[in-house]
């Protein structure tokens, strides 16, 4: 029967071409608008590390106090003093700290101009904690951190640029006048949003190209290439050059810990409170401990990482789709009720209500499928054009894949069938006797 009803559906589409075209266009536009905005939204609001997002926590300590903190919240990163002390304490199974750096590869070989290399100064735990996949070699060891050696991990893309994609592990590279030995090359790795570095506002920026040990960068006095937030308190130690700044109260180092069990989480929280209390006793903090441990989801939410543009356009597009569906309900009602006589004949010949339901829902499904195909075409065009709607770094995240195509089609068919429920119910209620009499 399905095949027959489908054929009837196709025939009926041709019977009122204008009405049908109207429905198909409405569904097509509605589903396309929703899917285009969804294609962006799903990336910006996605979980960038689903396998362990509840085990990774960013560590925040209020070093400003109630007068200068942000409505009771600690700054979004740590000071040099706190980050180093907390990582050195080693109270979590894994802990990392980092800051953005911008170095350069000096001219050499066939390059006559220097090349910029952006990345992070961090520690050995970074790679394991954030599940960085390696193409060659691996990250460096905790011993190399302690020995403050000049080692470097390159990104796949940067290795391509500098070493032509060869296995460069063991080779030397000169970065801003200092030599580093390559210990690893990552695979393409670009979690979006870049949850661990929201402090620098680089959630959707180009991926890092290099990683060097934090202590090495510190020895070489490499300044942060990212944000430096000194807050509003006066006398935050910006007097005596770099040393004064390092040991002042400016926040610029994000820190993360990996805590695998609830027991570890509460133990770490206690430790953190204890650390802040100790700072209070030492006279550095003149307020009660105010610390935060925020996991990935919490942190993404707190930092409002989803651009308001993306949220508003998704809501408006969904509203648009709802209107298209309301429109479709009306048109389907008109289309179905026009065929009251036909329904009356079928019912009189013995068709149960269920058959009427089946026939008209399948017919609505064919309308939905036609709308879905149009929607698919419009979505493909639209995703190509999101550059017009969002900033380039966000627009490039939107892409059409099989799951988006399938969901476009499914959404169109399902939504149309739901819209058809009421018109179908009305069609099934048609009294055969009435229709036969009026004829």
């Amino acid at each position: 029967m399905f095949g027959y009803y489908f054929q009837l559906g196709m025939r009926s589409l041709r019977r009122n071409p204008v009405l049908t075209a109207l429905m198909v266009v409405a569904i097509g536009f509605g589903v396309a608008a929703s899917m285009i905005t969804w294609s962006v939204f799903r990336v910006v609001s996605g979980n960038p590390i689903p396998e362990k997002s509840s085990q990774l926590f960013t560590v925040l300590v209020d070093n400003r106090g109630p007068q200068y903190n942000n409505d009771g919240e600690p700054p979004e990163a740590l000071t040099y003093t706190d980050a180093n002390a907390l990582v050195r304490a080693h109270k979590a199974p894994h802990q990392t700290l980092f800051y953005p750096i911008a170095l350069a590869v000096l001219p050499g070989g066939n390059r006559s101009l220097p090349l910029k290399a952006i990345g992070y100064a961090t520690n050995a735990d970074f790679f394991g904690m954030f599940n960085v996949p390696f193409q060659y070699g691996s990250g460096w060891s905790a011993q190399e951190d302690a020995r403050r050696t000049g080692v470097v991990v390159l990104s796949h893309e940067f290795n391509q640029q500098v070493f032509g994609g060869a296995d460069s592990v063991g080779r030397d590279i000169d970065l801003s006048g200092h030599t580093y030995r390559v210990v690893g090359v990552t695979q393409h790795w670009d979690p979006k949003p870049r949850y661990f570095d929201l402090f620098d506002g680089s959630a959707f920026d180009e991926p890092a190209q290099i990683y060097i040990p934090f202590h090495r960068a510190d020895d070489l006095k490499i300044d942060t290439a990212g944000r430096n937030n000194c807050g509003g308190a006066p006398n935050t130690g910006v007097d005596a050059g770099r040393e004064g700044w390092l040991h002042g109260e400016c926040s610029w180092i994000p820190m993360w810990v990996q805590l695998d069990t609830p027991a570890q989480v509460s133990a770490y929280r206690n430790f953190l409170e204890g650390y802040a209390a100790e700072q209070q006793r030492a006279g550095r903090f003149r307020w009660a401990p105010n610390v935060r441990l925020r996991d990935v989801a919490d942190w993404l939410d707190f930092e409002d990482v989803v651009p308001p543009e993306s949220r508003i356009s998704l809501i408006v597009a969904a509203g648009f789709f709802v209107i298209c569906l309301v429109n479709t309900i009306g048109l389907l009602l008109a289309k179905f009720m026009r065929r009251s006589a036909e329904i009356g004949v079928r019912r009189a010949l013995g068709a149960p209500r269920g058959e009427i339901y089946r026939q008209f829902l399948i017919e609505a499904g064919t309308v939905g499928a036609a709308g879905g195909v149009l929607g698919l075409l419009l979505t493909a065009v639209g995703v190509g054009g999101v550059g017009l709607l969002f900033s380039p770094e966000i627009a490039q995240l939107a892409h059409v894949d099989v799951s988006l195509m399938l969901s476009t089609l499914l959404l169109a068919i399902l939504a149309t069938m739901i819209a058809a429920l009421y018109p179908t119910w009305r069609a099934a209620k048609v009294q055969p006797a009435w229709q036969l009499k009026s004829n």
Partner: protein, 410 residues
């Protein structure tokens, strides 16, 4: 026109009536909010920067080595000298940032050293005696920096801000109704006083985010070259020589020394590009909302045409009877126009409630502005017109139903 019979007839087809009214209500809610968003974005985009934007471009110059502060300063001065000598260049200056850049350096401002909460936030532009002329910003009071006042410092040094020039916007926030000239304010973290020696006309900050709206026109010019990993060169070309100046400037810098990085992408931008990049999200929202509103209105109109045509088809016999009983063509036309007006009125009533609730939600959750009632009025008028326009064709068709239709059984 008798409204009573129309209402009775409407009660006979509740479903269709409700659907049209609902569609009109939702359309009104979305279109009002979309138009309001468009207007908001366009207002933002049209804000003046206070910069004479034509003939101005920006070069991002990074140093590949870590330079001691004095060396970086020497290189910057040599670069500025080389750029200034170009025939196509009128003025040049170095800075850490510039209006509309998006990110940069901002400091809190206090009026006294022991004040706890900041009075406001401000952009810090490290400047020299050529900065105002390069940007094309006018002084409305006081004087410019002199060459010997301009020093240099690194990002981690104490800020040399004993004498500063501030923007009109900042002056008005700090000293409403009075003159800021000669006054002392506190903008540096070491809490040292800075004396205002000049006030510029309107000058926009680097901050363009919606959150920064209260600070969007706060700028402090500090007389120093900021040394560090790199700098921006702001270059004003002679009128009509922008393209030449951009090409020559890049060549001149590389001739001066190849040990520099000017990013291939966006390393050299005209100010028009800077402006576009600052506001591309706003343009995007305006375009998206525009497309959605237009398509929505067309679909709603088409929906009304479709359903009304269906009703007309259903009621051909009744129309024929009315005509046979003496109703004129325009009575039938009037019937369908009035019927649509009633439905649309019901729809817009609900729509106004929905539109306001949607706006309230956007205000609470997204931090948008409350919508002016003008948008509701405009939206209501637009939908009433749209409804009447859409119903016209089916109504005319209905009015042409001949009285003889009454005698036919189908």
């Amino acid at each position: 026109m008798q409204i009573g019979p129309i209402l009775v007839a409407l009660r006979r087809h509740k479903a269709g009536t409700t659907l049209i009214a609902l569609q009109i209500a939702l359309t009104l809610a979305i279109v009002c909010n979309a138009l309001f968003i468009i207007q908001q974005r366009l207002v933002r985009v049209d804000r003046p920067s206070g910069v004479q934007e034509s003939n101005l471009f920006v070069i991002q110059n990074d140093w590949p080595e870590k330079l001691p502060s004095q060396d970086a300063d020497a290189r910057m001065r040599a670069d500025l000298q080389a750029l200034r000598q170009l025939g196509s260049v009128q003025e040049v200056s170095s800075s850490n940032s510039f209006p509309l850049r998006g990110s940069g350096w901002d400091n809190f401002v206090r009026l006294s050293p022991d004040q706890v909460k900041m009075t406001t936030d401000t952009a810090i532009f490290f400047s020299d005696e050529h900065t105002l002329a390069t940007l094309g910003a006018r002084l409305i009071a006081g004087r410019n920096f002199s060459a010997d006042e301009v020093g240099s410092q690194s990002g981690t040094d104490r800020m040399h801000a004993r004498q500063i020039i501030i923007s009109k916007g900042l002056a008005e926030i700090l000293f409403p109704g009075g003159s800021a000239l000669g006054k002392t304010i506190y903008v540096s973290n070491d809490n040292a006083p800075s004396t205002v020696i000049g006030i510029t006309d309107t000058l926009q900050a680097h901050m363009t985010g919606v959150w920064a709206k209260p600070y969007a026109y706060n700028a402090v010019l500090v007389p120093a070259r900021l040394t560090g990993d790199g700098t921006f060169y702001l270059v004003r070309a002679r009128p009509g020589q922008l393209a030449d100046a951009m090409r020559q400037a890049k060549d001149a810098l590389y001739a001066q020394s190849p040990m520099r990085i000017i990013p291939a992408q966006d390393g050299i931008m005209t100010f028009a590009q800077v402006r576009h990049r600052a506001y591309d999200g706003d343009y995007g929202m305006a375009i998206l909302m525009g497309i959605i509103s237009a398509v929505l209105l067309v679909i709603t109109a088409a929906g009304i045409v479709g359903l009304t045509s269906f009703w007309v088809g259903q009621r051909r016999r009744q129309i024929g009877v009315r005509r046979a009983l003496g109703a004129r063509q325009r009575d039938i036309l009037g019937y369908f126009l009035t019927e649509n007006l009633l439905i649309t009125l019901g729809g817009v009533l609900l729509g106004v409630v929905l539109a306001v609730s949607m706006n309230v939600w956007l205000v609470i959750r997204m931090g948008s502005q409350p919508m002016s009632p003008l948008y509701l009025v405009a939206g209501v008028l637009m939908l009433l017109l749209l409804g009447q326009g859409a119903v016209l064709a089916p109504a005319v068709k209905a009015s042409r139903v001949p009285p003889v239709e009454a005698t036919r059984s189908v």
